[in-house]
């Protein structure tokens, strides 16, 4: 089996649409358009983008919480149509870690009940095996065993994220989709969780899809990075190349905008720059209105992904050299 753990082909998601009773077309939003990428075993693919770029929609489709409109997601060589059962069917292969870990824990269940759920429903373990597995999980995420009988509201954000991580790991998945796992945490705790994630990846030989809006965090954990803008991948490549030598003007703008010690405030961009209206997307490149390099071609036709080096591609007619 040489199939990559996760590969995505021409994935699309449209919200809304259809017709009303009177036959009028309802407005629709293309949240994810024509996404194609794959993740290698043991790799961390970072996905960066601003709000509204479709990164959470993508994550929810990857784990089966949202059905795609078209396209296919292949997990360990199994295509979408072969996994008709929804998350119950492939929860043993791919799991999801939520941004707001506290709200992902049922306030009326103890930590033990929360951790047992995937063991019972995905693996069908008996009580004794479950107890051993839970002890193992708590140890993996550095939590004390006496936490098991407490309720979620008794935990801080960092601890809750560890519990969320333990739950995701419970069914021994090969792939974790991490949706902004540290953006709700303080920096000192954020570093603890990021380090734990990288340790777990090595020990358990996991493959990560790491979604974040924070470029520095993504760079610190990722092998490769995909930059999303307005529902499309605009640049994909090795993490070190994407941020140091960006090809797409949007990636360039992103990395220059990130506030950083020792760099003056960015004042280049015109104040008018806003995301296009998702209900009435412009023809051509969605970034054209904000782009200093845009010309008539950009405003009329959507650019395809272009290979720049073996591992670096960008969807731009006028890439930065």
């Amino acid at each position: 089996m040489n199939a990559p753990p996760l590969s995505v082909m021409n994935l699309e998601k449209t919200f809304g649409g259809g017709r009303t009773l009177l036959g009028q077309v309802k407005p629709s939003v293309h949240a994810v358009q024509d996404m194609t990428f794959s993740v290698e075993p043991g790799e961390t693919l970072g996905i960066v983008g601003e709000s509204g770029c479709g990164k959470s929609t993508l994550a929810r489709m990857l784990v089966g919480l949202l059905p795609p409109t078209s396209g296919d997601i292949e997990i360990e060589g199994t295509t979408m149509s072969e996994r008709a059962g929804g998350p119950a069917d492939f929860g043993r292969q791919i799991q999801y870690v939520f941004q707001d870990s506290l709200s992902s824990l049922n306030p009326r269940k103890t930590i033990r009940q929360i951790l047992e759920a995937p063991l019972i429903h995905l693996l069908g373990m008996d009580a004794a095996t479950r107890r051993a597995r839970i002890a193992e999980l708590l140890d993996a995420v550095n939590l004390r065993p006496e936490f098991l009988n407490r309720f979620p509201h008794e935990f801080s954000g960092g601890q809750a994220q560890r519990i969320g991580l333990a739950r995701a790991l419970a069914a021994s998945p090969r792939i974790l989709v991490l949706d902004e796992p540290v953006s709700a945490l303080d920096v000192s705790v954020q570093a603890q969780i990021l380090n734990l994630l990288s340790e777990l990846r090595k020990v358990l030989n996991l493959t990560y899809v790491f979604i974040s809006h924070d470029l520095a965090v993504v760079e610190a954990v990722s092998d490769r990075v995909a930059v999303l803008y307005f529902g499309r991948i605009v640049e994909l490549g090795r993490a070190e190349c994407v941020f140091s030598t960006p090809k797409h003007p949007y990636t360039d703008l992103l990395s220059r905008s990130a506030p950083s010690v020792g760099r003056p405030l960015l004042r280049t961009e015109a104040a008018a720059s806003e995301l296009p209206d998702p209900l009435h997307p412009p023809p051509g490149c969605a970034f054209a209105a904000r782009c200093p390099r845009a010309d008539d071609l950009c405003r009329s036709a959507t650019p395809e992904m272009n290979q720049h080096t073996e591992t670096h591609e960008a969807a731009c007619y006028h890439p930065i050299d």
């Binding site: 992902s104 603890q192 520095a216 003056p264």
Partner: protein, 621 residues
């Protein structure tokens, strides 16, 4: 147990519980009580008055003992009311949960059916049901239950919809649970309190409705007594023997009143919003209780804060959110306050203009001098005068600070007209010019937009425009860019920086982001557990931090361009501010800790332009 105590603390609810309990116990014990047979007629003794011999409450038109009939009737009415409530709650909640959880077409079909049921007046519907089934107490019970099903279904559906979109339901799906199992194990426990609340507030209605049907002769059939039929029989003799209808009437009144009082008490105790004090109105200004006021210091500071202390008193606990914070800001200067969540930075900012909610907030010490005047000594009116005029705030999420139902231009003009006597037209023009000053493109047309029609960055610009209206001297910006995307954040930061330079504003900038502080602020104060642990010029502090916390916090922040790496982390958690250690609050997490750190308070020791609260500062032997 806590809930029970909360209910009983509410005096009216306790009274209701007492009355209801007494009525319930008496009617439950009916078979054991030494009372006459309720159905035994004695025409010779008809219509005896209350307190006559052998009949405490008198007798009815057939000479039956009213006391006995009342107790047995109450027993029946209570039983029917409660049974109807339980049936309606179970069926209605089940419908509501299924509709709310599955949504879409299921929801549409079920709820339209419920809507149709609700379109009939309830008494008409109940009459129709009884007409079809035939009169009788059991049929009346079914009718009352059926009539109340829509009420439960709609209430519970609403709650379920909000719970079904919570993340833990997604998590349950990922854990391999199917729909019915999620409903039982994830949704139901969270909906149950609402079902109980709804039930406790409707039982009274159900009893009343059953009595209504019996009163019309459609419920209990003679000779069986329930409160409604007793009332119906007594009605015919209302003039000659009023006691025959007053006695059951008073009982209905007592039961329904006590049920409603208790139900309201249960609702208040269980509803998380009411519990957290949504009904308690905070005072117009934060309560100030300080024993002495620090002397005014010499200097040219516009804002001078001296050992400010703000506590939150919740129950028996006192949370020292701000534990003696001092800083000053000069005109045209930007001071950054940086800290993690819970470090007290926002409470510090809100304390400056008495904006901390009281209760539970109390300012227990220190002084805040704005141009020499102590704001903490001001009355509510004086404070209102300086808010907006001298000191203005910009908050994190303008979507929550802007009114959703007014156009942004109207909100700006309203604030302008509130402080200055200008015409509507002038105020609107001023509002548009303010929007231009915060660089909103097409300001004239954007002024007519509602807040939700603007992007996050544009909304925050409106928030800044609101703060600028009365040309304040000091602007306090509390994490104004945290909710924004990085590209938009850069624009808003650049705008704030330009504004303060153009207008010589003093800017107090509260953030958790070192990058932002480095780009915007002249000086920085680092807060930890309610105290400033280090302060100084931004570049110096960031390049060469004195306090171990500052140094290690800076190390935690990943910097773009650093490549893939292991980050340094600070083990442990910040201390709870209701249980601070005697010495340095950072000592338990510090790798340089010594006995001197834990023994007693560490003072903030100045050295030149900087100051540090540490016994063994970095970079010194």
């Amino acid at each position: 147990m806590v809930t029970l105590r909360l209910i009983l603390r509410n005096r009216l609810a306790a009274f209701g519980a007492f009355v209801l309990l007494a009525v319930a116990v008496i009617s439950l014990l009916a078979p054991l009580l030494p009372i006459a047979d309720p159905d035994l007629t004695a025409p010779a003794n008809r219509l005896k008055l209350p307190f006559s011999e052998g009949a405490l409450l008198g007798t009815d038109h057939l000479g039956r003992d009213l006391l006995s009939r009342l107790i047995w009737g109450t027993r029946l009415s209570l039983f029917v009311g409660i049974a109807a409530a339980v049936i309606a709650a179970v069926i209605g909640s089940a419908i509501g949960i299924v509709a709310g959880f599955y949504g879409g077409r299921t929801d549409g079909v079920i709820m339209r059916g419920i809507d149709m049921l609700m379109a009939f007046p309830y008494i008409l519907l109940a009459l129709a049901i009884v007409a079809v089934l035939g009169p009788g107490l059991l049929n009346a019970l079914y009718a009352v239950a059926a009539v109340n099903i829509p009420f439960f279904a709609r209430n519970i559906r609403g709650v379920t919809v909000s719970i079904a979109h919570r993340e833990f339901v997604d998590a349950a799906k990922l854990a391999g649970m199917n729909g019915p199992r999620i409903i039982v194990s994830e949704i139901l426990p969270n909906v149950l309190p609402v079902i109980v609340i709804t039930m406790s507030t409707t039982i009274g209605w159900m009893i009343l409705e059953t009595a209504g049907l019996s009163f019309l002769g459609l419920g209990s059939q003679p000779p069986q007594a329930d409160l409604g039929s007793m009332l119906g029989e007594g009605r015919k003799l209302l003039i000659t023997a009023p006691h025959a209808s007053i006695v059951p009437g008073l009982m209905i009144f007592a039961i329904v009143m006590s049920v409603n009082l208790l139900g309201d008490g249960i609702r208040d105790a269980l509803d998380p919003r009411l519990r957290s004090g949504a009904l308690s109105r905070p005072a117009a200004a934060t309560l100030v209780e300080r024993s002495d006021i620090p002397e005014r210091q010499a200097g040219d500071a516009l804002l001078d804060v001296q050992s400010l202390q703000t506590d939150f008193q919740v129950g028996k606990r006192t949370y020292k959110a701000v534990g003696g914070v001092s800083f000053h800001v000069k005109p045209g200067e930007c001071l950054g306050i940086i800290g993690e969540s819970g470090s007290g930075k926002s409470v510090t900012a809100l304390s400056l203009a008495g904006l901390v909610a009281s209760p539970p907030g109390v300012i227990t010490g220190g002084a805040v001098r704005m141009g020499g005047e102590d704001t903490l000594s001001m009355t509510g009116d004086e404070l209102r005068h300086i808010r907006g005029k001298r000191i203005a705030y910009i908050f994190q999420d303008p979507l929550t600070t802007l009114h959703p139902l007014y156009r942004v231009g109207d909100q700006l003009s309203e604030a302008i007209r509130c402080h200055r006597p200008v015409s509507r037209q002038d105020a609107w023009e001023h509002a548009v010019s303010l929007l231009e000053q915060v660089r909103i493109p097409n300001a004239a047309s954007r002024a007519k937009a509602y807040p939700h029609e603007l992007s996050g960055g544009m909304r925050q610009r409106v928030g800044i425009a609101l703060a600028l209206i009365n040309e304040p001297e000091i602007i306090v910006a509390d994490e104004p860019t945290t909710a924004l995307d990085v590209t938009v954040q850069a624009q808003v930061l650049a705008l704030l920086d330009d504004l303060r330079r153009e207008r010589n504003l003093a800017l107090l900038f509260i953030t958790h982001d070192f990058g932002v502080v480095a780009q915007l602020c002249d000086r920085v104060a680092v807060m930890y557990a309610g105290r400033v642990v280090e302060t100084g010029p931004t570049a110096d502090v960031l390049a060469n931090p004195f306090h171990p916390y500052t140094r290690r916090l800076i190390d935690c922040v990943p910097e773009l361009g650093g490549g893939r790496r292991i980050l340094s982390a600070i083990p442990g958690l910040p201390p709870a501010v209701d249980d601070l250690p005697a010495g340095c609050a950072f000592a338990p997490r510090c790798d340089k800790v010594s006995d001197a750190c834990t023994a007693s308070q560490v003072a903030l020791i100045p050295s030149g332009a900087r100051a540090v609260r540490c016994v063994a500062p970095e970079g010194r032997p």
